[in-house]
Every structure is written in C-alpha cells, then in structure tokens.
Symmetry: none
Subunit: 414 residues, 2 copies
C-alpha cells in the first residue's frame, strides 16, 4: 500500500464545510457464543439506527488483515497516516500516554525497575512488580537524586508497576536542526543472570544520549542502594519526537481534538491538532459535547473520542460495554444538532468483551454526507456494515473519503 498522503496533499482545498469524526474506542466486538449478537448488535440505539439508515457503511481494518492495532497505530490510520510507515517509538508513546509533551530534540526512554543482586547481576527484570504507590515513591527518590545530568534536564515519570519513563530535555537544536539522538543500544539484556548492558550510540548524533543513559543508570543504582527489591533500572525503547506532516500541511484543515484521556490528546497533538480543554471526570461525555459546541465555529475538523467502549471491553464486561454504547446513542442528537457536513463514526480497533483485549476484527465505519448513495446497511453493527456500500477497506482510506464528501478534494489529473 503506497502512502496516500503524497497524493492527497496537492489535491486538498479549503472550504467552509465541517467534518466530525467520532471515534468509539474499541467499539467492534464479538458474540459471547457462536451465532450470537455482538455488543453493538445487542445495544438499543434508536438514534444510531436512524442515522445508519441514511448513511453509508462499511468495515475498516486499521493496520491490515489479522493485525490487532495498538491505540497509536489505530489512531494514526484513522488520521490517514499509514501505521506501517509512521511509527511512534515506545518511549514517545509512553510519554504521550501519560500526558507528557515532547519537544523537538527531546528523547523519551521506557524504563523498567529491576532487582539487582551481588555484582549487579539481574535477579528480576520487573523488580517483583511493585505497586503503583511503590513505583511513585521510587520515582520521587530518583527525581531528587537526578534532576539533571551535565546541564541536561532530566524528567522522570511513573507509568505503572515496574514501568517508568525518562525524558531528557534537549538543550536546543544545533545548526542542522539536530537535538539529542535516540539511536542507542538497550540497557536491558532481556534475560536474568547477567549485568545490565552499557548503552552504546549507534550513530554520531546519539553519543551524548548514550552517556546520559549510562550516567542515569549509575546514579539511580546509587540512589536506590538501600532498597531491597527496587534497586536497579533497565532501559529499552528510546525515541525522539516523531516528525509527522501535520493535518494542516496535508489536508489544509484546522483540526481540534476533543478527548479526555492523555494518550488520545497526545496522539492528536503529534499530528498537529489543537487539543481543546474538556471539563469533567474520566470519559466526560457531556463535557466533550460542550467542548465541541463551544469550538464549532473555530475549526473545520473535529476528532471526538469516547474511551469507555474500549475499557469495558478490556474488562470483559459485555453488558457494560452495551451500556456505554447506549450512553453514546443518547448523546448523538446533540452532535447532529451541530449539522456537520460530514459525520463519521468509527473505532480505532475492536475490543471484544469475549477476548478482554484489542482484536484484529474489522470495525464498522459510518459516513453521512449529502453525497452518498443508497445503502443496504440498516444499523451501525458489524453485520450490517458488512453489506454497506463502502465495502471492506483500510483505515487510511477514511480521511480521503471524508475530505471528498466534504468537497475538499480537487480532481486528480485532467
């Protein structure tokens, strides 16, 4: 599959039309027993049903056949970035996931706490899976011990259990626009019974970063020497900030992200969307409707995210996932009242309660505009979407289809 972005960019034109992309995270599901109904099919969704009757439906695979997308690749595909080409490194995704913004030249690193025995030999690569509280306590010790290394600011964040994130803040960019390099070898040997490895730079611009990492390891072990179990650190996955062409650059769109969880706000900011404030706790559905309404005049593309359809699937709670779908259905009239020229409802992957995890199953796609044909699909469900006129597609097809339906794409060739 070629990169559509280079084809789309010169065709994009600015118009007054508005596109609303609703992402119901993990919305695709499975029946609990063969031949049964999925969460979407079980839900009572009169508003979605009415919308589906006049919209076009299809199914999308976000990354590829049989491939289960993580949240990063799933969203990048929705935003039109081929997730096999545009990769967010582990370090950057971890940072983004806990709400840490990365600047040009910064490097984010994924760390694990470990238990070291005599002679620094690794006994447990996860330090006995400490509690989040213990993690935070140790991170606090490290913050005090290592605020900076050689003038480079060091930030340390709790992720969960044995996982933490370190961000080395670049002192600035050199004349070639280069900050800290991220191409260095792992400290984590991925086995026990040996010592942590020395980080080695794999290119000329990453030498300083390798030194920072090795110094960090040394000073962390000193700071944690009185800890019986959480007394070592291992690093794996270093990333600088991914430089993706922005939504404004590709599509000419002023784009807003309306999401309440850090991961999704972070992903949207990576592609240059404005991340607008949302009031409320957790999924904050009403707050998101309010944020959408308040910002409606200011933007021409809106990414509007619902999280709980995924979390309930991850919990394996079929009934609760059905309930979250129904809650969204109740809000739908509020979105329709804004009269988007193009409305899209889709997920970033499936999360069947039966599997308690993300899955590879295609996700239903709905597009409503004034330029649709008659469509046989009567509901926003996996089964009905399978006979919709949009067919079975890659996720990266969605943005071109939305742009076309908004009459924002010029003809290709004469």
């Amino acid at each position: 599959m070629s990169d559509l972005i280079d084809t789309i960019r010169p065709l994009a034109k600015k118009t007054d039309s508005k596109i609303l992309m609703v992402v119901l995270d993990g919305v695709g599901g499975l029946p609990l027993t063969p031949g049964g109904e999925t969460e979407l099919a079980s839900a009572r969704t009169p508003n979605l049903d009415a919308l589906a009757a006049e919209a076009q439906l299809g199914l999308v695979e976000l990354v590829g056949a049989g491939i289960t997308p993580g949240s990063g690749p799933g969203h990048l595909s929705l935003f039109g970035y081929d997730p096999l080409k545009y990769v967010v490194g582990r370090g950057a995704l971890s940072a983004v996931g806990i709400g840490v913004r990365l600047g040009a030249g910064d490097v984010a690193v994924r760390g694990n706490f470990a238990t070291l025995g005599a002679n620094r030999v690794i006994e447990d690569r996860r330090a006995g899976r400490p509690s989040n509280e213990k993690n935070a306590e140790v991170v606090s010790k490290l913050r005090e011990a290592i605020p900076e290394i050689g003038g480079i600011r060091v930030e340390i964040y709790t992720e969960s259990e044995h996982r933490f994130v370190v961000v080395f803040r670049s002192p600035g960019l050199d004349e070639a626009g280069q900050g800290l390099g991220a191409n260095i070898s792992d400290v984590d040997p991925q086995v026990t019974g040996v010592q942590p490895m020395l980080a080695v730079a794999q290119d000329t611009t990453s030498g300083l970063t390798a030194e920072l990492v090795n110094t960090f390891v040394q000073r962390a072990e000193a700071a944690l020497s009185d800890e019986p179990q959480v007394n070592g650190v291992l690093f794996r996955g270093y990333s600088d900030v991914p430089h993706f062409p922005s939504f404004a650059n590709i599509y000419g769109l002023r784009a807003a992200c309306i999401a309440s969880y850090p991961m999704y706000r972070g992903l949207a900011s990576l592609v240059g969307m404005d991340v607008v404030p949302v009031e409320g706790e957790e999924d904050a559905l009403e707050g998101k409707v309010a944020a959408l309404t308040e910002n409606w005049a200011k933007y021409d593309f809106f990414y509007w995210h619902v999280k709980k359809t995924d979390s309930t699937g991850e919990d394996g709670d079929f009934a609760e996932k059905v309930h979250k779908i129904e809650l969204f259905d109740e809000l739908l009239p509020g979105l329709l009242a804004l009269k988007p020229d193009v409305l899209c409802i889709v997920g970033d992957h499936s999360t069947p309660s039966k599997l308690k995890s993300h899955s590879w199953h295609p996700v239903p796609l709905l597009i409503r505009s004034d330029y649709g044909r008659k469509d046989l699909a009567a509901r926003y469900t996996e089964e009905e979407a399978g006979r919709g006129s949009l067919g079975l597609r890659r996720g990266t097809d969605i943005m071109p289809l939305l742009m076309a339906n908004a009459l924002k794409l010029q003809k290709y060739g004469a």
Copy 2:
C-alpha cells in the same frame, strides 16, 4: 499499490479469444435527493439488465478512495496502468486532447493568452477569456510569425478561450535517445502585477527547450503588439511524450480503440492501441458499432468508448444522462451479436448530475464470460454492483480479470 504490470507481462499468452471493454464515460451517479435513485437505476435498460443477470458485478475505484479521477488517470487505470505511477503531463494531455500526436523527443506546452500592460506587467492572466474564434485568429497570427525557431519546428494549436498548446518538434534523438527535455520552470507567475518569468532549465537536457520557450514569448509579444487585449503568452506545464509499455508488450494483445473524441483516441494511442476510424458526428454511436464490426476479425482487444454519459452529467442534466444510458442499452444487442468471449462494461469515473463534475464515487463494473460464478447483482447499477461477487476493487484489477476470463493468463509459479 504495487505495479501489477510486471507480474502480468510474463504470464500473458496469445489465444484466439476476444475481449470487448465498453467504457461508459462518467457513468456512475448519485441520487438527486437522499435515498433516491441514481441515473443508472432510473434508466430503463432491459438489455443491460438481462446481461447483468448472467454476468459478474462489482465496484471499482480508479485511482483511490475519495480521489476524483481526471479522464487521463481514469483511463490509464482501466488499461491496467497504476495512475499514481504512470502520469501524463498537462502539456501532453492537452495535445492529446485536441488530437495532436506527439513523437519521441517532442515537447508539448500548455499556454494561456494574457493581457500585458505597460512595462510587460500582467494585467489579466486569461486575456479577458477571449472567444474560441478570437483564440483561433490569434493562433493563426502566431503560426505565421513563428513557424520555427532556430530550425526547430513550432506548432501552435487552439485549445479553447485563453488556452492554446505549443508543440516543439524534436530534430531527432541523440545517441542516448534523448530529444528535447521538458524540465523547465514556468513562465506564468500565477499572479498579476508582475512580468512574465524567464523559463529556466532544471536539468542539462532541457537547456534548448528553455531557450525555445523564451524566444517564443518574445516573438509572440512582438507579433501581438497591435492586439489591445490578447497581447501576451504565459506557459505552464511542459511535457515530453510519456513512455508507457504498450498493450502488445504487456498483454500480448492486438488492441483497437473505437472512440470518436480526440482525448480518448489520444490516450489509447499512448498505450499503443490502433486507433481505428469512426464515421459520424460527436458520439457517433452507430458509427462505433460499425467500426467494431468491421474490425472484429483484426484485433483481440477492443476499447469501445461512449462519451455522452459524462457530458450530460457535467451539464447537470439527470434526465438526459438517463436517456444516454438508455440509448446505449438499445445498441447493446449489436455488440453482443459479435459474441465477445469476455465483455466488460465499466466507467472511467463517476459524473453525478447532482455534482455537475467528475466524482470519487466507485463505478459499477460488469464482466461476462463463460467462467463466472453465480452473482447476487441483478442490474448494472451502483447499488446492485455493491453486492456483486467482484467486490470493491482498484481499477488496475480489471485488465488482469479480463485477461484471466479470456484464458489469456498462465499460472503464476509452479
């Protein structure tokens, strides 16, 4: 999307079977009101319906999801050439569109007549949109003034209004097979209030072409100095002849083009089809049936083009587009009487009357051969094609499918 041509070429074999590809230009449509019928669904087409009942149907996107194809890319895709890889430049397409044949080493240039004020400053980049008659009158003056430049033959053609085409005929190819280069900068600054720009060669083989263009601009302004409005020329879009592998080279087919409009005859000649004479005015449907019958024994592939399904859509005349579809339906028995081994009916893009322009919507594809499976699609309409057994595909899939159905493709691998 990979280039299928390299896979197909070694598999192609010659047989006596005949393939007829009917291209109903812009045939795909939209309902005028949501939930209504498209032009195809509204038309009374008993012959097409009977054919569809025994054929296989599907939908094709010629360039990609959401992308509206121009006639060039749309046709190249139908002929099996990836339109993102095989690009016909603006100059060449304009020349082709008015029926001018280009030879190896020639360069075709798109020109606009402009109005220049004092000190050669551009006042109007379209010279007040002159009539076609005025255009022809000015072209005639230029032909007299600039028959050649430094021994290089110069041909000047009216396109329409302010548009004209210049062809510089290469004096021959050098030892490396290089003629005139086409890689030079635009004369048209695309704004008013400034002078036309000097053309500058962007590579070593285009130096002479840049000189030709600059000399042409100078001599044209001298020749038009007594014109009050049409007194300058601007150039933009230079192209040499695209070198595409031919139909004979890829498919081993002796291919004939049966079309009455210059653009389509030109596109077919670019891929090495024989362009056979057609008697009659405009779309000349009866003339095309006669040309097909006369040439039936001589070729094994026929590209048979109908134009008016597109022009009526461009006019926004829903009823007239329906009528043109019905006129084709009346002719269909004449085509079937020739008993093609493989019959394909398709469009090069959609042209919904509602949009009065080409559009991105997929086009119905019909393939009839002795080697089809049962198919749920009962009519040649967008909706029925959407449940056909051929699925939703790229246009470049069509030629391999036709070759296979004609039993002209060998097994791939042992």
